[in-house]
Assembly symmetry: C2
Homo-oligomer: 923 residues x 2
Amino acid sequence: MSRAKAVKSGKPGKASRKLVYFFGGGRADGNESMKELLGGKGANLAEMAGHPKLRLPVPPGFTIGTDVCMHYHEKGHSYPRGLEAEVRRSLSEVGRLMGRRFGDPRNPLLLSVRSGARRSMPGMMETVLNVGLSRDTLEGLIRQSGDDRFVYDAYRRFIMMYADVVMEKAAGVEPRGGVGIRKVLDSLLEEVKRRRGYDSDTQLTVAEWKALVEEFRATVVKVLGRSFPDDPWEQLWGAIGAVFSSWNGKRAIEYRRIEKIPDDWGTAVNVQAMVFGNMGPDCATGVGFTRNPGTGEARFYGEYLMNAQGEDVVAGIRTPAPVNEYSKNAQSRHLPTLERSMPGIYKELWEYQRRLERHYRDMQDIEFTIEKGRLYMLQCRVGKRNGMAAVRMAVDMHREGLIPARTAVQRVSPNQLVELLLPMLDPLAEHAAKPMAKGLPAGPGGARGRVVFRSEDAVAWASKGEKVIMVREETSPEDVDGMHKSQAILTSKGGMTSHAALVARGWGKCCIVGCGDIEIDEERRTFRTKDGQVVREGDWLSLNGTKGLVYEGQLPLVDIDIRSNRPYRAFMRLVDGFRTMGVRANADTPQDAAVALAFGAEGVGLFRTEHMFYGEHSEKPLFLLRRMILSETEAERREAIGKLSRHVKRDIKSTLSVMAGRPVTIRLLDPPLHEFVPHDPVRLKELSEVLGVRPGVLRRRVLALHENNPMLGHRGVRLGISYPEITEMQVRAILEATAELRAEGRKAFPEIMVPVTSTSSELVHQRAIVERVHREVCASKGLRRIPYQFGTMIEVPRAALQAGEMAQQADFFSFGTNDLTQMCFGFSRDDIGGFLPVYLEQRILLQDPFQSIDQEGVGELVRLGTERGRKSNKALKVGICGEHGGDPESVRFFHGLGMDYVSCSPYRVPIARLAAAQACLTR
Amino acid sequence: MSRAKAVKSGKPGKASRKLVYFFGGGRADGNESMKELLGGKGANLAEMAGHPKLRLPVPPGFTIGTDVCMHYHEKGHSYPRGLEAEVRRSLSEVGRLMGRRFGDPRNPLLLSVRSGARRSMPGMMETVLNVGLSRDTLEGLIRQSGDDRFVYDAYRRFIMMYADVVMEKAAGVEPRGGVGIRKVLDSLLEEVKRRRGYDSDTQLTVAEWKALVEEFRATVVKVLGRSFPDDPWEQLWGAIGAVFSSWNGKRAIEYRRIEKIPDDWGTAVNVQAMVFGNMGPDCATGVGFTRNPGTGEARFYGEYLMNAQGEDVVAGIRTPAPVNEYSKNAQSRHLPTLERSMPGIYKELWEYQRRLERHYRDMQDIEFTIEKGRLYMLQCRVGKRNGMAAVRMAVDMHREGLIPARTAVQRVSPNQLVELLLPMLDPLAEHAAKPMAKGLPAGPGGARGRVVFRSEDAVAWASKGEKVIMVREETSPEDVDGMHKSQAILTSKGGMTSHAALVARGWGKCCIVGCGDIEIDEERRTFRTKDGQVVREGDWLSLNGTKGLVYEGQLPLVDIDIRSNRPYRAFMRLVDGFRTMGVRANADTPQDAAVALAFGAEGVGLFRTEHMFYGEHSEKPLFLLRRMILSETEAERREAIGKLSRHVKRDIKSTLSVMAGRPVTIRLLDPPLHEFVPHDPVRLKELSEVLGVRPGVLRRRVLALHENNPMLGHRGVRLGISYPEITEMQVRAILEATAELRAEGRKAFPEIMVPVTSTSSELVHQRAIVERVHREVCASKGLRRIPYQFGTMIEVPRAALQAGEMAQQADFFSFGTNDLTQMCFGFSRDDIGGFLPVYLEQRILLQDPFQSIDQEGVGELVRLGTERGRKSNKALKVGICGEHGGDPESVRFFHGLGMDYVSCSPYRVPIARLAAAQACLTR
């Protein structure tokens, strides 16, 4: 049944449903709970005006409900019977409260007519201000304000707005000449200014305004074929209709489609008395926050402008004054505070803001206007705040007894937490600067440094104490050293999951990728922006990795070491009180592990054994690995493996030791072997000399390792089955490291994880090796048992489907959702740059599935895998490792699947903890 | 409850269960239906001996049931009470029938003791022959046979076999000196021969045999610590126990694990009177087939040897004689037939074989022995036959009323049909030749030709009328021309799904891949086998692609054009009478389509638009495609697309026309664009000149197209979304071709298929283009509607999971199980050679999942996709295209899922038709 039918047409014998909801004068027909009917704005105005604990001086008005909107659209733009009477009744009450009358030429009441849907749809629907202003009421308003220029300016604005919104758009009138009325009227004003040589509207004389509004009125008739209405009632119904019509405007429909807002919600219409902060020296307008939105401090903070309208505060032409001493800043220090200039009003305002915060139990962002010495509260809403402030407010309000712990935990968004964890460019400085290029925000936070173009240079400059930013087309494992030494990384190619992005996020390092705005000339060591600006090696850059913005020069940084920040620590205690799912970190080194611990990780969810072959200290192990891969004889290979084992053991031991008995999931060697050998002739020749292998043999061996699709090639467990000695070596290193630590009286608990499995028989094969080596190590160390668990990555679709079989061979699963996403979509992460931008732009995909897990597709595999695994092995531990472990939305999804833990980069551990806690609190 | 418990121990008051089943003398306790208890061999012997319609002269004997085997193993190698008495009773009946007595020194009965499980386990368990032969009975046997050398030879064989099987293996005795008794005894015999300078056993004198058997007996005591038994009963129970024990031997257990035979089935033991075909000139032995196994002709066919044992026929030392005129061949033409030499026996034999075929209603392979003028039927079983014979027999037997149509259809295996469809090397010639190398059998059939090493040479030589075989390390799309012109393809690398294998199978061309036995020197135009043999360009080779064998020189070929073969046509009519699932073909050209039609295809299930850019006539379209890909300006691109469209239309039109209204599924462009551009500098330079694009620009463009994992890259629908003009051009070509054909009064029905989709929004996007172009083409041709369907490949795991959404945008699904297998397993088809051999060898995978669909993993995606798709779109048509469509096991699986059709290469259409029909007949 259509909702419109529920709106009774006032037939006799039937109870007539209320259509119009009054607010003002300390009472209201509606309240905050009636958003469905009154829209967000209407419900909020009613609450402010009418709630017994608030009763704020809101300019009086009334709301026409959303049901009328649906009636309007379903019944050919007509209104339910009785509406007009209710509107008249309410309007006379508004007039009474304001001491004015709608349409009264001597003392006119002016109205604003605004939309207001259940959920905010900013800028998508229409607004008409100053309704009731006409040739008849002009004079009355001049008398009220004592400022005829102000009144004529208001009137010409009203004509422009009304003609455009009501007479042209809502009426669907095709303007003669094809140019919209607004544009035509604008050009008339410009023409006057041009003729007079004026720079600004304010230079027009009253006479000129008078002449112009007459020209406006004449032009409206010419262009739209109708004369501009002088009847205030006609104006009002026109404005109301225009707002209702705009619910079905193109912009609004498109917005609803994207935001998934049902078409049958409809919008309410709010009709409210206009008040003016610019009617004289006893007028003002301002905004305020019930607590400091920058720091979270629990003090009233605000700014105001004397004799001004709200827009003027926002426009930033005049410097606003502080409402009190606390609100002073460098720019406004010398200006008079409201507390001083209007102490009574300030006291009243202070009381209202306190009342509002108490009532809403959250920091409020308020707007107020003082019209001729009378304070009006125009709006209040939950105030925006930065991360630090959000944490502090949550903790403080909880301590003050204003909100329970669960609300405190929900008050901070995971992304706000990111702000806390990283240094950032000073927002004020950034506000003043102009970015020279924009790329993808791959690693959040801010950084500054001098430009270098090669990894070696980064290392060299950094060793001399220089702060550097590494700029490259793309990065590769060979650049890792330089990346590590850089303050930030900037690449012109690659996507959010390119090598640079992954590495930087893992380190919590600022990084911008895919910055197509710059063109790098590596040879000349310069890059050029699309504006033609050239940046040379050694020049300073500043990067905002949270937004992907690149600035020239050195912008100041703000930084806090959050780990010792008291509000942060208090907040995370609250968080962990609700969290049920574990949070681990992906860490490849003892350093990473220590950072992870400090951020509250409860284990290492992914330790990649291959990391030791990349980067700084990799020379020796990489040499041995290459010897192993490329050796010609069995004996050489065995020797290389034996030596390699010692490195692997030392490496594993140090991380196990840092984690002190917390589980450490060690993934067996994963990458295809060709990743470890050089491919260019020069390096190959070098290697051939070092290894003592003939160049021809080496070349052939390297060539044989080449793969067309390495992602789907000879890697993971496939290596462990082709070369069981590699598995054996690693397992031996893990178990010996564990045994040795325990012999030293320290705790250690490794989880041995087999990657890229697709069938349970692979696990049977690898498990046999693990069990044999375990027996051998036990025998050699004289132990009965070394504690460990055996499990597998689930990162191949088949493994997820076959989870029931897999689980019988495993103590744990760890979903590798990066690779699972690649294979489930058939998207190569390295090559996605070719089409993903188009996919996102065309909304074929709503988000990058490597950023936030694709719940429908990849997520179904995770769900199936978890269910089937648990069904066949009740004791199965299930977690996920991979980028998604640090994405709040994904964490919520994994919580919903009942996972035991998520694992993410150390710097995202707090974010995952918060997301996991919040997941417990929502449904 | 253990099955052993069911064997009652003969306690008073309980009915004792029968343990021993006699057969012989025209009666039998068991019959063919009792395989569970008597094993296959025992049940068959009982049937032959005892069935009222057979009553064949089988050497008498008895079977000890499988339940005794389980008792034996569960009760510490003991026997149920009463067994011994039953054995004695049965054995005396055997003696009575044979006119001999077990253990009688003057007229001894000798026995064979053999295993026989429910299902055949060839060679996995033990057999002991000549049981009952001892120092005491030797003389009696000499009297019976009149040949003492024969008897001593039998005796020494018996000692060797018994000492090995019973005294050493079954008893678990560790031989002194560590060398097995059989080897020790063998070396004694060799020593005698060496001393005497004999080449063959037959040269030993009776005295030497006598001395040797004494030495054997002494050695048995020395090595095994027990003396060789002379007591025939001890021998018999020893042999029975050894056969039972061998059920739990290592080989047998391993075999059962692989073949999934339950451990608790157990084996029966068959004890049977020995008969000898080598006791004199009135003795013979032979084998026969109730119909000709090579041609299927319904005539008795067989061979025999006078005075010989069964092994001698098999060993091939003497040329066997034909049983009748019909069985004569080139080698045996001059030898006397059994029909002539023993007419009474032949008549009897002919009668028996006829009886057997009538009884079993299938061609029987029989073994017989004539001992002193008396015919014994030793064995009968369903005879092996080649493909042609199988088809003819099935059709004939159905016509003769011997079998119903459904049985006829089940009588031919799909692989037998393959034999019919391709020329093959003459089996006799092949039998005589020695292969020089072995590779993977990628394209079945036989071929011969002269070796070339390059595609250009293949084309050049072929144009001069030479038959060539192209030999390469691997093939690529650039070799397609040469491949097409070659009789066969031989590669040293690549697997069953390499480029060469796929292309060859598509054409039904003989192909051997991954032939690691040869090393190619392309520069010198030679290859070398691992035996060091060198083959040069121009040398002749013959290939057996069904078995992967490579022969030197020219072997004769046998070939039949099956399409006009009458038994084949009759058979396929029977087949189609049962088939419910459709069969289409993958065809890219009108030629392919015509072949497919001739083979009975009901449509084209996959037409790849990209084929026109490869091979012979591709120059012009490839040039235009390259221009499109690499053009610098929009105008150039549009121009290239416009011209290209004409080629595409012509191409599509000709195939639509051949198929005359049958559905043709046209897949939109699939491969990543870089597949179409050259990558080496020389060719790039050429291209740059031809296209008139600056070399630098071209190089950059080509480089930008490079992908790390092209399989998961910018291909399929991703191209169609990035470059909607490519989709548009193809769709326009398809619809215009259809409209034009219909205007000419011909039928045409295209199905437009979008590849590599992973989300339904891709289909929404492409569908909008298709519908718009449809409107445009209709308008331009003045039509109301052009018939077509719109659908998608399901080849990405996510598409299968999201099938419910996808189906709402599609008229049909076609599962692309090649790519689905790649992504479900994470196996790159191109790179699988690195690990698949090890996987198959180690039985990590039981079969190559690209050959036969992985029913558990990939199959589940297909099942889910089909179910979900059909659920959301009742009218959805579902099929599969890809290699699996021609694999019988996969076809059966797809039938089980209720698919509408499978599509395979034209040459596999009959195979798919048969497999689809058989799928209807089994469960």
